[in-house]
Amino acid sequence: MNLWLVLIISGLTTFATRLSFILLYGKIKFPHWLEHSLRYVPPAVLSAILFPELLLHSGQLDLSLGNVRLIAGLLAILVAWRTRNVLLTIAVGMVALWIFSAIL
């Protein structure tokens, strides 16, 4: 499929998603389970992308110390958990990746 067509359709679905509740508020009563399920979209989507990034190495599960992305990622998780600071999390994670790549 043409990339431009992909862009336009994706732009429309994204826009429709963003407009949905803002436009329909007060006009439609949404079912209870839908409200619930929306709350779990962000953690589910983020984890579905994140886990393979950290745990797989060329498509294989790699839990060894040699997996520098996993080690740097775990350090970043610790920083994110303690500080809730986005920029600090990224900075620590990147520096950790560079250092571990150099020494391991």
Partner: protein, 233 residues
Amino acid sequence: MKSRRLEVLLSGIQAEVPLAIAVIPFGMIYGALALNAGMPAPVAQAMSSIVFAGSAQFITTQLVREQVPGLVIIMTIAVVNLRHALYSASLAPYLEKVSAAWKVLLAYLLTDEAYAVTITHYRQSDQSTSLRHWFLLGAGLTLWASWQASTALGLFLGAVVPEAWSLDFTLALTFIALLIPMLKDRPGLTAALAAGITAILVYSLPLKLGILLAALVGILTGTGLAILQEKPQ
């Protein structure tokens, strides 16, 4: 009245500036990754204004690189961006009174970063203001400008950033920074773990369909647990 509008608009801009600066590296990395994946520069730049959603754009570069069919790209972007429905629902009560044209404009600008500062502002300012849509406009436009400019810069500099810098890892780190604060209750944590473990198990599925499947498993698990917890014992 006019100066009040400007005041609210400026406070939206001011609140967004730190995040607008924070997305500059991502916009640049996205531009560089897009070129690297074989996306033509005009397409990559247009995506920043047509789709205007960082994480979906990052994933698209991966999918384009692996020559995944367009329909799968469209479905993946739709699922990844489903979280914006949550933002839409959360802001809807505050924007009930504005005109349809305003709703359309503000929905276009409703990114993770604009939502984050706006909902904080709306929850803190208890005075009922009829001008608060100007705040979201200021925040949204600020992020928009930063995203377009940094994408362009990334496309321009893309070729000169050495791969050894592993800048693509900033995507994973950003997701960590966004994800960890969300894991406050058991259903949220369960949704994240279920999605993550599924993603590993089904990683070898063709067309990167594993992301879609894993996200759906996570959402269903979290929702199921939340509904079970709600039931009186």
